[in-house]
C-alpha cells in the first residue's frame, strides 16, 4: 500500500521569500496494488507536484508518504518498487544518447551482476509486455522514434525492476488519439498483473476510462474523491460538476452553462497554486472532507449541514 497522509507542499516566493504559496494542501489518499487511481486536476491544481513528491523528486513540506508503512525515501531501494513516466516522452531521453540507454542505466545501477545474455532476455521480455518490437527501438536515437514508442519504452524500463507502483503523469497528452488508447490499455493490462498506478491527468474522459478510483484536485486541495462511478456518475462538489459539464463529449453537445474564462492575472492570490479562500471551489471559510455516501468524499463547509445527495 502506498499511502499519502496530510501531504503539503509550500514554496516561499517573492523578495526574500516573504510570501508562501501552497501548491499542495493536506492531501491524503492511498493506492493499493492492482488498482488505478486517477489524480484529476487542471493546471495549477498541484497534481504534478503531488506526483513528484510520491516519486521523491520533491520533498513534502509536511505530511508523510509511506510504502507498506515505511516512510518513502528517494533512493535505490524505493525506486526498485516505485517508478514514474512523464508527460513529454522526448524530454525524458537524453538527446545525445541512444534511447535504450535508459535501460542500460538500470543495469548499471541495479543489476551489475546479471550476465549480458540474461539481461538481453529480460529486456526482450519487458519490451514484449509493452508490445514493442526490439528491432525497432533498440539502438535508435530518441528523435528516430515516435512519441508512443518512447512512452512504451519508458514503461518497459520500469518493468525491468521489481515494480509495484507507477506514477503516470499525463503520459498520453502528447500522443495522438489513435495511439493514446493503446498506452491506456497497456496500463490496464499491468494493473491486472498487480501493479498500482497513480494516473495523473487533466483529461476526465481518460480518468473515467481507466481508473477504479478518482481524486479531484482543485488548487492543491482534494475537493472530491471516491470510486470512479460515484465521482463521475454522481458528482457532488460544484467544481467537479462544472468540470464534468465542460468536458466535450461525442454523445451530447454542451448545455447552457457558458464555461468560465480564467479571470486571475498572473501573480494574483487567485493564481494557480494558491488555495482558494473562497469562491471558485464553491466554498467559504474552513472546509473539510465529508463522507457523503460510502467511500465518496466531498469537501464541504464545516458549518453547513450535510446537503442531501442526489
Amino acid at each position: 500500500m502506498l499511502r499519502l497522509e496530510g501531504v503539503t507542499k509550500t514554496y516561499r516566493v517573492g523578495a526574500f521569500g516573504g510570501r508562501t504559496l501552497t501548491a499542495v494542501d493536506d492531501v491524503s489518499f492511498d493506492l493499493a496494488p492492482g488498482e488505478v487511481v486517477s489524480l484529476i486536476g487542471e493546471s495549477g491544481s498541484g497534481k504534478t507536484t503531488l506526483g513528484k513528491m510520491v516519486l521523491g523528486l520533491l520533498a513534502p513540506s509536511s505530511g508523510s508518504i509511506t510504502l507498506d508503512g515505511v516512510p518513502a525515501r528517494p533512493g535505490k531501494g524505493y525506486y526498485r518498487h516505485v517508478q514514474g513516466v512523464f508527460q513529454d516522452p522526448f524530454s525524458c531521453y537524453n538527446p545525445v544518447f541512444k534511447a535504450d540507454r535508459v535501460l542500460r542505466m538500470l543495469k548499471e545501477q541495479y543489476f551489475p551482476e546479471v550476465a549480458a545474455d540474461e539481461w538481453d532476455g529480460r529486456i526482450e521480455e519487458s519490451l514484449e509486455a509493452v508490445r514493442l518490437d526490439p528491432g525497432q527501438v533498440l539502438g535508435r536515437y530518441p528523435h528516430q522514434l515516435s512519441g508512443g514508442q518512447l512512452q512504451r519504452l519508458l514503461i518497459a524500463r520500469a518493468l525491468l525492476l521489481d515494480l509495484r507502483y507507477l506514477v503516470a503523469d499525463e503520459i498520453t497528452s502528447m500522443l495522438d488519439a489513435s495511439t493514446r488508447i493503446d498506452v491506456l490499455n497497456l496500463l490496464a493490462d499491468l494493473k491486472v498483473r498487480g501493479l498500482g498506478v497513480l494516473f495523473v491527468t487533466h483529461d476526465l474522459s481518460l480518468g473515467n476510462y481507466i481508473s477504479e478510483r478518482a481524486v479531484v484536485l482543485h488548487r492543491g486541495r482534494v475537493v472530491e474523491a471516491g470510486p470512479t462511478e460515484l465521482v463521475f456518475g454522481n458528482p457532488l462538489h460544484p467544481y467537479t460538476i462544472r468540470l464534468l459539464s465542460a468536458v466535450p463529449r461525442l454523445t451530447a453537445r454542451w448545455d447552457g452553462d457558458p464555461g468560465a474564462f480564467d479571470v486571475s492575472a498572473p501573480g494574483d492570490p487567485g493564481d494557480p497554486g494558491a488555495p482558494a479562500a473562497s469562491g471558485d471551489d464553491g466554498t467559504q471559510g474552513p472546509t473539510t472532507l465529508v463522507e457523503a455516501e460510502p467511500g465518496h468524499l466531498v469537501r464541504r463547509d464545516e458549518t453547513a449541514s450535510l446537503r442531501s445527495t442526489r
Partner: protein, 286 residues
Amino acid sequence: MTAVPTGRREVLYFALRNGKLLAGLAVLVPLLVLAAVAPLIAGDDPNAYVAAPASPPSAGNWFGTTMFGQDVFAQFAHGLRVTFLVGVLGGGLAGLVGMVIGFVAGYRGGLVDEVLNMLTNIVLVLPALAVLLIVNAYLGVRSVGVQALFIGLTSWPWAARAIRAQTFSLRSRDFVDLARLSGVRTWRIITREIAPNMSSYLFMTFILLFGGSILIAASLDFIGLGPSQGVSLGLMLNNAARWNALHLGLWWWFVPPGAGITAIVGALYVMNVGLDEVFNPKLREL
C-alpha cells in the same frame, strides 16, 4: 548508407568523416608537432645571436632574423611550446574551476548557488593586472607555470556563469529526473547526463579560455611580468612592436607569431563547429 558502428567507435566514425574537424586538425597538428620537436630542429637556445641582423627569410634562416641577429624560426618554434603550455595550463585550470563551480551552482541551486554566484562575481570584478603586480612584487616568481596558474585563477568566472546557466536549464529536463529515478547519484548525473549535452559547449569554452590565456600571457609579457627566461609568441610580437619592426619593414619578425596565434585559435574554433556536428546526432543527418 553503409553500416554505422555503435558505441564509442560511432563518435570516431563520424569524427573522421567531418570536414571541419579534419581541417582544424590539419592546421593544429603540424604546429603541435613543430612545438614538440623544436629543440631538435631549431637548437636549444632561441635567443642566440646566430646570423646577420635584420636579414629577410633565406635558406639558412627560414623566417629571417631579428634586429639582433636571432633566428625567427627558432624563436617561433620555441615560442609555440611556451604558448601551448600557457594555453593548456591556464585555459585548463580556468575551465576546471569554471566547470566545477558552474555545475554545482546550476544543479544544486538555492543557497549553494547564491554563495558560489557571489564568489564568481567577486573574482569577475577583481582588477587582474593590479593583483598580479602585487603578487609579483611580493613573490617575485616568474615561471611559465606561475603565469598559467595566475591566468587560470582569474579567468574562470565568465565560464562558470555560462556553464551555470546551461546546467540550470538542463536540470529541469525530464531525463535528469529519470536518471534520479534510476538511482544515479548527483555527481554522476552531472558528468554523465548533463555534461555530454553540452560537450561541444564545454569544448568551446575551453577554446576561448585557451585563446584568452595566450592573449593575456602576451600582454603580461609586454609589461615585463612574463617569464624572465625563454621566449613566447606573445613576447616575440611585443619585441617586434618595441623595436619598430613594422616601420622598418621587418615583416618576417611579427607575421609568424601573429599568424601562429591566429591559426591556433582559428583552427580550434573550426574544430568546435565540427565537433558540434559529431556530438549532436540530430545534426549528423542533415
